[in-house]
Symmetry: C2
Subunit: 416 residues, 2 copies
Amino acid sequence: GTAASVHRSWEHVKGSKRAENTVNPIRRLVQGIDVKPNPALAKIDLSIGDPTVYGNLKPPREAEEALAQLVLGGTVNGYPPSMGVLESRRAVAEFFSTPLAPLEARDVYLTAGGSGALELALGAVADPGDNVLVPQPGFPLFMTTAGNLGIECKRYLIDPDRQWEANLDSIRAAVDDRTRAVVLNNPSNPCGSVWSAEHVQKVVELAAELKLVVLADEIYADMVFPPNTFVSAAEASRDAPVLVLGGISKRYVVPGWRLGWVLVHDRHNILEHAGMRNALNMLTMRMLIPSMLVQAVLPTLMDRSSVSVQQNVNSLLSTLQANAMLCVQRLGRAPALQPLEPGGALYLMVRIDLDRLGFRDDMEFTKALYAEQAVFVLPGQCFEAPGFVRIVFAAPREVLSEAMDRIQQFCEAHSS
Amino acid sequence: GTAASVHRSWEHVKGSKRAENTVNPIRRLVQGIDVKPNPALAKIDLSIGDPTVYGNLKPPREAEEALAQLVLGGTVNGYPPSMGVLESRRAVAEFFSTPLAPLEARDVYLTAGGSGALELALGAVADPGDNVLVPQPGFPLFMTTAGNLGIECKRYLIDPDRQWEANLDSIRAAVDDRTRAVVLNNPSNPCGSVWSAEHVQKVVELAAELKLVVLADEIYADMVFPPNTFVSAAEASRDAPVLVLGGISKRYVVPGWRLGWVLVHDRHNILEHAGMRNALNMLTMRMLIPSMLVQAVLPTLMDRSSVSVQQNVNSLLSTLQANAMLCVQRLGRAPALQPLEPGGALYLMVRIDLDRLGFRDDMEFTKALYAEQAVFVLPGQCFEAPGFVRIVFAAPREVLSEAMDRIQQFCEAHSS
Ligand SMILES: Cc1ncc(COP(=O)(O)O)c(C=O)c1O
Ligand SMILES: Cc1ncc(COP(=O)(O)O)c(C=O)c1O
């Protein structure tokens, strides 16, 4: 009935199912960790994918100074256009454009971080009841945001014994008539892997065969350690249309600035014809957009000719590579651990011989490590990687070195 | 079928229905305005709800300087917590807390502007197929974001002949068993109206009777012209739970900084019991959050004891009130126009005697005014207010004065 006579009570007020489906597995698992760290030892947290945590890694000073000047100049306080400021979108387009994968400002949507890019792209390609393919192990935000949008996540496997390359058969097996896109994440969180150009090629060709839009989360683009090289899915794709998701959070050490992008690489006008550009435009009407302040500093930040910015990125990468090598070498000597050498990003996956250490699963390992050695890592379960733990190697060298000592002692103490 | 043998073509790739339902009426109508302004006259734009457009209105200098220092200090580049930084949430809670409507940090969610607050609150209270009541005339973003979320907007009327007070019978008539909340917007966009304490009281009491959560969009809170006074729906409500939506965009002249909030005023623990706090928490897991930079400047900005910030707000209000008075007086002398004196915000609604001027509707009026006098206002249709136009009175006095002259000449030329 519509009349106000409808007998109503406050009981009918309830939180939405949409919210219930917005699940963050890390938060649930981490909140469940009820152990106290060994009080005799300083706590060492290697669980957070935030390069600023220890203060050792810094954004390009030039960008900070340019942003401060913009704030004081008082000319960038107004509403940006819903897709983003033209000049800033142009800077992003010029930064990433290549002969094989050309970009113009119209192909760039500025978003509230990589998280905003994911929400915008998923919202444009799929409706409730549709599904997208996501990697397993993978970045939990894919499930969190897809679930919020009523989109099912069907998993495809990436193989720890083959540099976390995608198992192509598992992609074929997962596709059904409601599958809208395949999500790629290279370089990977949580695996720290960097796919070869050949493998990226194979995956995008399969996507083309299966007629899947590619959602390529490349927030760690160019954050690779030599001899690894980064090849964007857009660069490799001749036929499959690609929406590249990216942002400034990791490469410029500013996750708190909250700016990302969706890059539209449309092959054969498939997305144009599908009304995908219009879909993206309409979704931006909600004005869930990045600040005008940070948009205005993009041309300074994303300037390949800026020596100081490039130096900052290079020193970041050499620091991260040295940190990764230290962890791989030290953990390689610990009983019952197999570190899988990362090719880039911030993350090292370590396979645990649970039986040898007498632990039921990676959660029990994580809790014991924290209780005994006050070192906190994330259990692989957070990423659907049972039997692994993820270590963030962005901490200062001496902190990492201390942590590796403690992990080694821990494994020696528990190893039969 | 799930096998990859599913014959697939690129034809099945299409933009989501979700995106199709994300409609921004202003954009569609304004894009349809195909007239050229009179080249002999400088264009005057009085259509955009952005107080920074002409550069005459400025944010508190103290806040700009504090933000620049924070950027240079390099300590606020990391991820904020998903609900927002505790100290910043506390500053917002202390700013708005009153004996009758107390607030703590746990009641405050920091969002990506008022637009982010609306998306968070609507997403928490309603699922696809539910509806919420929205004012007519009203702010189009309510329809844009609700449509995106699959939530139907049922209109209740606000009455131009009674200071845009809500027609309570129209609220009763609109409620049905899928109605989750009633959206209030006081002070109002587009009407510039400010409800009396008594009227706010009546509306929240009706909400309680009908068992509706109140979503009170109060982004223009405190932006009222004496003798009008602003009373929050939270302050007036004894029984109905209230989610107040707000932000810094208008009051501090920084719509480009993109920070807002949802304030949880839970009466009798109705929202707690309904799992609404949990729903809000889970929705923040998508990390569509405001920058750490602007969060960190909130304690400076939202400090009632800061003389310079308060002076800035007071001078803003006296300027806006003077501008509003100028427009009301001048348009009052123009044939066929009835300006409805605003009590606050940035907006003046003007009722047009279309017959007397020989125009079919408010769109035709708007196009002719732009073509002949190069003055651009928004047709009432954008806000479901046929026969009206909305004027933003945030421009410098001399610009407004020139625009009022031209409107008067325009009406005299067309008036029979
Ligand atoms: C794979 C991946 N995608 C997206 C994001 C989100 O990036 P942002 O912090 O810019 O929202 C992250 C950050 O951890 C990530 O690891
Ligand atoms: C009534 C109303 N609510 C919300 C908003 C959005 O505010 P913000 O720019 O902070 O997202 C506006 C801005 O125009 C508004 O007028």
